[in-house]
């Protein structure tokens, strides 16, 4: 399908969503329960002017970055070991399964008791680590032993083998792990903030708006969170295009 046609469809889809939203708002007929798209847009723009806006947003982004870095460092380091040693992979498996299948909310409630303030970071690590770990392990398993053997037979230096064979084989797995981890981690961190109520944070602001029955603001913050999530995804796509060459 031509990309111009696709763009038209996307615009139409958004328009339909806005119309449905407006219709629903009109039917309900109460700004306090269901504000229309226009009122929400106004509320969103107002948020930018609010005095703590930057602080709130950057607090959440900072939690995201800190937990992302921790998750990547742990995920890559342990993933490499597990990818190379089946025994360690078997050891890690139950941990990873638990982390992946436990509902985020259960972790949040426990973390509130254990960590209180840094709950959101903990939740971010807990959701992102297993995704990155699993992808790194899969990436290492995916390395073609025949290429490794070729390099060994030609007595290519170890450093060159790592840089030219291992890294390019693992890179696509790494990138896809990171991109799904960021998508899931970002939402989990906001859930963590809703319950742990740090001084500044998007999750906390959502919670506050909810308690004040301020639906406009609640949706406005949601929109901000969605836009930021989309922005991160875009950035990762860009990095992906630069680093992972597509000739495979």
């Amino acid at each position: 399908m031509r990309s111009s046609t696709k763009n038209i469809i996307v615009i139409a889809s958004v328009a339909v969503l806005l119309v449905l939203w407006e219709v629903a708002a009109l039917c309900i007929g109460s700004e306090n329960v269901m504000p229309g798209p226009w009122a929400t847009l106004v509320a969103t723009i107002k948020l930018f002017g609010q005095k703590d806006f930057v602080l709130v947003v950057f607090s959440t982004i900072l939690r995201g970055i800190v937990s992302f870095v921790i998750a990547v460092v742990l995920g890559v380091a342990l993933g490499i070991v597990a990818g190379l040693h089946e025994g360690f992979d078997a050891f890690m498996k139950p941990w990873v399964v638990v982390m992946r299948s436990t509902p985020v909310v259960a972790f949040v409630l426990l973390a509130l008791i254990w960590f209180s303030r840094s709950t959101a970071v903990f939740i971010g690590v807990l959701t992102m680590f297993p995704i990155i770990f699993t992808n790194i392990v899969a990436g290492i398993r995916n390395v073609d032993v025949k290429l490794i053997e070729m390099a060994r037979f030609y007595k290519v230096r170890r450093r060159s083998v790592i840089r030219n064979v291992y890294v390019p084989s693992i890179a696509p797995f790494m990138v896809s792990g990171i991109s799904s981890a960021v998508g899931i981690g970002w939402r989990a961190i906001i859930v963590g903030e809703v319950l742990s109520q740090p001084r500044y944070g998007i999750g906390g602001s959502l919670q506050l708006a909810q308690m004040q029955m301020n639906v406009e603001v609640l949706i406005a913050w949601t929109i901000i969170a969605v836009l930021l999530g989309a922005l991160f995804e875009k950035i990762i796509r860009l990095i992906e295009n630069v680093t992972v060459k597509r000739h495979i």
């Binding site: 025949k146 053997e149 070729m150 030609y154 290519v156 060159s160 000739h247």
Partner: protein
């Protein structure tokens, strides 16, 4: 005449005895064809010659300090690197950092020999199977190796392409004599490319037939003799 010698070699894999008191002499500077039933231990033999696999017992002489190249059954090219980068990958360690021009020259020279000049910047996915295998031939010759080990290198290639690659190979050998050990299950291929041939038995491996300087022999009778022993 200098020789690579395998002396009284023993090798088993978890009790599966592949070599037991096996000896073989391979002349340097010529192409030796090795035939034998599948699974008898031909790949194992090449791996021991190349020093990537140690025999349980016995010694291999004539290989110390020598450099090896390999041509595998599959091209084994790095898919994310161009033809040129693939050749550079195995050449790097032989040349100083500042000799990029020299490396490029060598790449071009050997790509020319296998009729792939102009394809240096292609990725393997853009080449046919036959072209990729020719790259792996160029790679093997580009390395300043003393010995080239080939493990059923043209098995998966259709008959016309195979002829073409064999011609290229023989042409390179005319000017660039190296010791070549060529494992194959194709009798015609072995007879076309080799100076000496050996036919091996099932494991534990014995030499069941050998002939030196086969270029001087009557090919039809020789072929019958080889097939009779295979």
């Amino acid at each position: 005449m200098k020789m690579l010698q395998l002396n009284d070699i023993y090798k088993n894999f978890d009790g599966n005895v592949v070599y037991s008191g096996f000896s073989l002499e391979i002349r340097e500077g010529v192409t030796t064809g090795i035939l034998g039933p599948s699974g008898c231990g031909k790949t194992t033999l090449l791996n021991m010659l190349g020093g990537v696999l140690k025999p349980d017992k016995g010694e291999i002489s004539g290989v110390d300090g020598k450099t090896f190249s390999y041509i595998f059954q599959e091209p084994r090219l790095l898919p994310w690197k161009t033809v040129r980068q693939n050749i550079e990958f195995v050449l790097e360690k032989y040349y100083a950092k500042d000799s990029r021009d020299r490396i490029a020259e060598i790449c071009d020279f050997y790509l020319q020999l296998v009729d792939l000049h102009g394809f240096a910047d292609y990725y393997p996915s853009q080449l046919s199977g036959g072209m990729s295998q020719r790259v792996s031939v160029a790679r093997a010759f580009a390395v300043p190796s003393d010995i080239i080990l080939m493990d059923e290198p043209f098995g998966g290639i259709d008959i016309n392409l195979k002829k073409n690659i064999i011609e290229k190979f023989l042409k390179i050998c005319e000017n660039d004599r190296r010791t070549v050990v060529h494992v194959t299950h194709d009798v015609d291929e072995a007879l076309a490319m080799s100076d000496d041939i050996f036919v091996l038995s099932k494991s534990p491996v014995k030499v069941v037939f050998e002939k030196k300087n086969i270029k001087k022999e009557n090919l039809t009778t020789l072929k019958d003799a080889v097939i009779g022993n295979l």
